[in-house]
Symmetry: C2
Amino acid sequence: MLTMPTANTQWSLQEKTIAKEAFELSYRREIAAVMAEAKRQATLAADPADLWKLNDFLSARRHYLDGKYDFSPESLVFTFAQLIKEGWLELQELDGLAADKLSKIRILTLM
Amino acid sequence: MLTMPTANTQWSLQEKTIAKEAFELSYRREIAAVMAEAKRQATLAADPADLWKLNDFLSARRHYLDGKYDFSPESLVFTFAQLIKEGWLELQELDGLAADKLSKIRILTLM
């Protein structure tokens, strides 16, 4: 995950609203996938090793999501690029952000 | 959990076999209960908090079971007493152990 800060990035109130909605949409999609996988693993679990594997899966996802879904303006461009690369969000769901931000995000998704 | 060692406790080969079987029987029962509870929680999970609660439940049980199911002769009398108190094992499932061990276990279950 890229964490290099982009200081001097200003977000208007309207952009923040768009960003917040896209952020929450992405989180809901990703957590739904984690939920489905956890339910699948729990349903199939037959011995202790399966339970501890589910435990490890949940611990890892929880840690990863906690770190990734950080709504701070200085890292938001990088976070959106990552969410798009991972398939949780589409670039057009960020329509309404300033062109320079969309351009940065698009370039970052190609890296 | 009691951890005071009982040094000088000798276990015959026959007693070790009985103890091992009772130990594994208790573990199977307890892990089956953890399994059932994990499946129940996973089935009912509806939002992220439910997933992290399942994660915490599994982490805590795993840690607790790892510590409790320690098959070392010096702590076995205490472990059996605890398993009986928790309802995972019955005293008569230890039939065949020397009378002094059964007596110690019985007294410990009353503490």
